[in-house]
């Protein structure tokens, strides 16, 4: 059995990475990711794991170093936030196209400008099309679990894609929470050694990243998209394996009090906990409100989401990023397109909330559900903004 601990979530994330016996980590410090980097360096320098810890000169170099090490067959990890993720952007599609199972912790923080270090999801929404598996953790326990699971998902021979875990900056990274830290034996049992399909080795030369002419580029893109779409099966299988060993169940879309719900609140990340308190409050007041939490953002779990909101009349979406000039927020865009072909489609109301660390309280979720219910049609609005 794992050990019950009280620990800062960022530190716990680094401990989870150590349990996965990584070979190399390349990181560049950025708030609120720094504690992951620092604690990983402690772990490596204490000799707790046999790995290299690379202090690089920028995130661009961090991701490039990860690509290099992963291409040589190593198990690698990095973590970043906001501007760092955006600076890595150039390399992210390379990692997925080369089918390199790099794992990254993204400590979600608002993207500049103006400069802001607090939590929202604008960073991840900028890179959502990069071909990475993208998970959203709700609490410290999920950060530990998903970090370990991500290696297994990414390295699975039927997947071989990079994976990232979204960890809400400060709201998760800097919280001290009670969590269960798996033991090394359990993780070893769960996570086999990485067996790369092709890797750089002088004895068996391969070329990676070669030039694609127009006659083959589209096929390559389709293959990458299929690989990511097909990874959902493996992701679900990995979660089943996890539940068998650790007893904690994961699903691409989690629901809370959705049976008979007329309004569904949709969240991603740490806000799920606050929203579930709001749902409890509303249920006490006889409001038929439930909660849908998206845990798997890429590949998007289409059937699972539809099943989760089946019969529900109103969907109130919490979007924590702005798609400037777009029809609505990025999460709502995804969900609206899901229901386009449905005969009886629910009303989809999109709320932009909690940007750059703006507090979102239980009352805000209540007001969101009430407003959504009253709307006659699909709308899009910023909630709680001073005019």
């Amino acid at each position: 059995m794992g050990k019950r601990i009280g620990m800062e979530v960022a530190i716990a994330a680094a401990e989870a990475v150590a349990l996965c016996r990584i070979d190399m980590a390349a990181v560049y410090p950025i708030t609120p990711q720094s504690h992951i980097a620092e604690h990983l360096s402690d772990i490596v320098h204490n000799g707790q794991i046999d790995a290299e810890f690379l202090t690089v000169e920028s995130e661009h170099s961090a991701m490039s170093a990860c690509v290099g090490a992963s291409a040589a067959g190593a198990r690698v990890y990095t973590a970043t936030s906001s501007q760092g993720l955006i600076l890595m952007h150039e390399i992210l599609p390379i990692a997925s196209a080369m089918r390199l199972p790099i794992v990254m912790g993204v400590c979600n923080r608002a993207v500049s400008g103006p400069l802001n270090i607090w939590n929202d999801h604008s960073d991840i929404m900028h890179v959502r099309e990069c071909g990475w598996i993208q998970l959203f953790a709700e609490n410290g326990q999920e950060v530990i679990d998903m970090t370990i699971q991500a290696f297994k998902m990414a390295e699975h021979p039927e997947v071989m894609l990079p994976a990232l875990v979204n960890i809400d900056g400060f709201q998760l990274t800097h919280m001290i929470e009670p969590m269960e830290m798996p033991s090394q034996e359990e993780v070893d049992k769960f996570l086999p050694e990485r067996k790369p399909f092709a890797y750089l080795h002088p004895d068996k030369p391969v070329s990676m990243g070669c030039f694609n002419m127009p006659d083959i580029f589209m096929e390559t893109m389709k293959a990458k998209d299929m690989a990511l779409r097909n990874s959902k099966k493996t992701i679900i299988k990995v979660w089943k394996d996890w539940a068998e060993i650790f007893g904690r169940e994961y699903q691409p879309v989690e629901t809370y009090k959705m049976k008979d719900a007329e309004v569904a609140i949709v969240t991603m990340g740490s806000m799920g906990e606050t929203a579930s308190v709001a749902v409890d409050e509303m249920r006490k007041a006889k409001m038929k409100v439930g909660l849908v939490k998206i845990k798997l953002w890429r590949p998007f779990p289409e059937e699972e989401f539809k099943a989760a909101v089946k019969g529900c009349k109103t969907i109130a979406i919490m979007d924590r990023a702005v798609s400037f000039g777009g029809v609505n927020g990025p999460v709502a865009a995804e969900i609206k397109s899901l229901f386009y072909h449905e005969q009886e489609r629910p009303k989809i109301v999109d709320f932009i909330m909690g940007l750059g660390g703006r507090d979102v309280r239980v009352e805000d979720f209540i007001s969101m559900a009430e407003r959504a219910k009253k709307k006659k049609e699909d709308t899009f609005e910023f909630l709680g903004v001073r005019e």
């Binding site: 410090p29 720094s34 980097a37 360096s41 320098h45 810890f53 000169e57 920028s58 400069l115």
Partner: protein, 288 residues
Amino acid sequence: MRGKKRELPGHPMDRLLRVDRIPHIWCSGCGIGTIFGGVLAAIQKLDIDLNKLAMVSGIGCTGRMAGYIKVDSFHTTHGRAIPFATGLKLARPDIKVIVASGDGDLFAIGGNHLIHAARRNIDMTVICVNNLNYGMTGGQQAPSTPLGFKTTTTPEGSPEEPFNFCYLAAACGAVYVARWTALHIRLLTNSIAEALQKKGFTFIEILCPCPSVFGRRNKMGNALETLKLYHDRSVIKNEIDPKEAGIDLFGEIVVGKFVDRERPTFIDYYRSIVCHETPEDNVIRIAR
């Protein structure tokens, strides 16, 4: 604490400060405030028209200078102060541009920009505050961290040799290169004033105590003890080859003005070769 504003006696630098942004965020004992004071004193001394002055900074502790100075300023993204400043200078060649940033910002994530701006000899003054680590994010290893010194990402000591910033800037073509410490405030102020009056890429590195982060981890005591170390160890060697001007915290910390030379700036060449405004011979003559 946003009550009624108390009437406080003015500061001699108020004309140059965004007083509404004070108190600043720098830790007690940090040398950036002193260095910032030096920058302001140099501006004051030269009596520069504040409408003809701009400050650009990157991200980090020193990056905050751009937010506190009351001239047109841009607090850019991490590492990009120099390219922002390059654009600014080319659009408005008539104004003086100061880039104020830290060692991590200018030489790690933004290292590429610095070497090219020096090569092109873009007319700007770069104030590089070197606190030997990434202070703002919690004291991680930077390209300035001395070999063997501890940081939060090198708990056993840094296994890398740091840059000699002055040597690098000089090799890339800077026309003015100097190094001081936060203790040499008068010499620093004069040096900044000198650099501001000079045409071309001018570079000043200033060693700065970081007692809360770097100092604490390396048992260097409080800020006063670091300043004492600067006092005891620094040796002024003007006009020495910057290659020989090392920073050895256990031996000699070489400070002084190492380079002061003339080279046509990017704008000189551009006006001559691209715009044909001045005869090419003219510029080439200066280059020789």
